[in-house]
């Protein structure tokens, strides 16, 4: 293999790692930008970000009894399953969709400050983590009311959350750049996410597709949701889903870093 080709790949991976390291060091910026964006969205409302929790609760309150009847499941079990699935899906979907538009949406800041590009992805991811934790209150409440137990295994949901966040960030290093250059991709992603909501076991149970496990385990969105949902509702650490996420992450990381390193300097030109 040509030595220049390898040097080029390694250089681009280093550019990407350098950008990510700088962004992590600028935590005070993306942290405060994320918080200010949430505050700004709920400005002049009496309840502020509590609306995040209330609107999710209203949706789950309407869907839970109806779909438990449709699927013939016990309301308590189904509500917890739906609440976890829906909340983690909402986090995944909005992170992907918003990170895809992160550079265009932050164009003014991007063209006024010399911040590393991945800072805008971290800001968007963190903003969605804040929203997730507002909704997580519903999950904790449901666990206490329905399961009445909270054990050490349930805490391992954080492993799933960290791995899933890294996986989303990893793929969005590429997708966000493509979405900035080709604006149709954002619309395509929006449509795919709508379809995937129905194809992923969120409102329907995995048991319904026992004989077609490939449709479940072949779906990366199931892996993300299961890595966080299983510890909380079944009190078990989903070793295979976490392992699969880690493997996908490790296998794809060199390519995503290379791509990001190669094209990141084009971002300001493509945001217009």
């Amino acid at each position: 293999m040509n030595i220049n080709f390898i040097t080029n790949i390694l250089n681009n991976i280093c550019f990407a790692l350098n950008d990510l390291t700088k962004s992590i060091k600028l935590k005070h910026i993306w942290y405060n930008l994320a918080i200010s964006e949430i505050k700004s969205s709920y400005k002049r409302t009496k309840l502020g970000p509590i609306w995040i929790t209330l609107s999710t609760l209203a949706l789950l309150g309407a869907m839970g009894p109806l779909y438990s009847k449709i699927f013939g499941a016990k309301l308590e079990d189904y509500f917890l399953y739906l609440a976890c699935g829906f909340i983690f899906w909402d986090f995944t979907r909005s992170s992907i969709v918003e990170m895809g538009s992160a550079y265009v949406n932050n164009r003014d800041i991007l063209l006024s400050n010399n911040f590393p590009y991945s800072l805008y992805l971290l800001k968007t991811l963190f903003k969605n983590l804040i929203t997730l934790f507002h909704n997580f209150f519903i999950v904790i409440l449901a666990i206490f009311i329905i399961n009445k137990t909270f054990g050490i295994i349930q805490i391992t949901f954080f492993i799933g959350l960290i791995l899933s966040s890294l996986l989303i960030l990893n793929f969005l290093l590429i997708i966000s750049i493509i979405c900035t250059r080709y604006r149709d991709i954002v619309q395509i992603i929006n449509s795919i996410m709508t379809v995937m909501f129905f194809l992923t076991p969120i409102i329907w149970h995995t048991d319904l597709l026992k004989d077609r496990l490939v449709f479940i385990y072949g779906n990366p969105f199931f892996l993300i949701i299961d890595s966080m949902r299983s510890p909380l509702i079944y009190n078990e650490f989903p070793i295979y889903t976490n392992l699969l996420i880690a493997l996908i992450l490790i296998a794809s990381l060199p390519f995503t870093l290379y791509f990001f390193g190669k094209y990141k300097s084009k971002i300001p030109f493509w945001t217009s």
Partner: protein, 236 residues
């Protein structure tokens, strides 16, 4: 040593969604804006072309030119926001810049919230944040407007606020774009004094404006840009 060295810098902006732009339009040169170029089916604006200069500690460089002559693009290249298509730029020193009046922040924020957010960006301690707040409130004379949303501000008021924040702390290299033109006379004198004091503390200033008097009073070197090219360098 505080320094900005620009060697053979050119920059071309790709323009998307206008591929059917006619050759006739491309070849006719207009008075404003960079040159339009068409390569195959792609359209580009040549925002900067073969820029060369060295600015060192103590220099106050003024950038002068029509709208679209390349002043802001050159400032963005100096700050590091835009990477040149060709050429090289070497900067040595901490940069403080103000390119847009609201600094890219949501206009529903109050001025006080904006100052707090900027202090968080700068990672200031609570004590330094308070000092920044007091300094900005005193300098801008915004009084009760400090707690009103930014969308209620005039351009001049926004300029006062942004200028006060940018010039609060020492920086090696200060980069200002089209600023003092929006202020009233009293504020212009005040801002000029503050800028002089700031320049004494800072190493190097880049100021882009249409105001030749301001450049003559502030800068020791005026670079005139036209269609992305340096048309002249004048020492004052």
């Amino acid at each position: 040593m505080i320094k900005v060295e620009i060697k053979n810098v050119s920059l071309r902006y790709p323009i998307y969604g206008f591929n059917d732009y006619s050759i006739r339009n491309v070849t006719i040169n207009t008075l404003v804006g960079g040159k339009l170029l068409q390569k195959n089916k792609d359209l580009f604006i040549e925002a900067l072309r073969d820029i060369n200069f060295v600015a060192i500690d103590g220099d106050r460089i003024g950038l002068y030119g029509h709208n679209g002559s390349g002043k802001t693009t050159l400032l963005r290249v100096i700050i590091g926001i835009l990477k040149p298509t060709d050429g090289k730029i070497v900067t040595d020193g901490k940069i403080s810049s103000m390119l847009s009046l609201n600094m890219g922040i949501d206009l529903s924020f109050t001025a006080r919230e904006l100052i707090k957010l900027k202090s968080k960006f700068m990672n200031l301690s609570l004590e330094k944040e308070k000092r920044l707040m007091d300094d900005v409130i005193e300098f801008t004379e915004l009084n009760q407007y400090i707690d009103l949303p930014l969308y209620t501000f005039s351009t001049g008021m926004m300029m006062r606020l942004s200028f006060a924040i940018a010039t609060h702390d020492r920086a090696d290299i200060l980069v200002l774009d089209e600023w003092l033109s929006a202020g009233d006379e009293k504020f212009s004198i005040k801002a000029h004094d503050r800028m002089k004091a700031f320049i004494k503390k800072s190493g190097l200033l880049f100021l882009a404006t249409h105001d030749k008097n301001l450049l003559a009073n502030t800068c020791n070197k005026i670079i005139t840009l036209e269609k992305g090219e340096i048309k002249g360098v004048e020492r004052t």
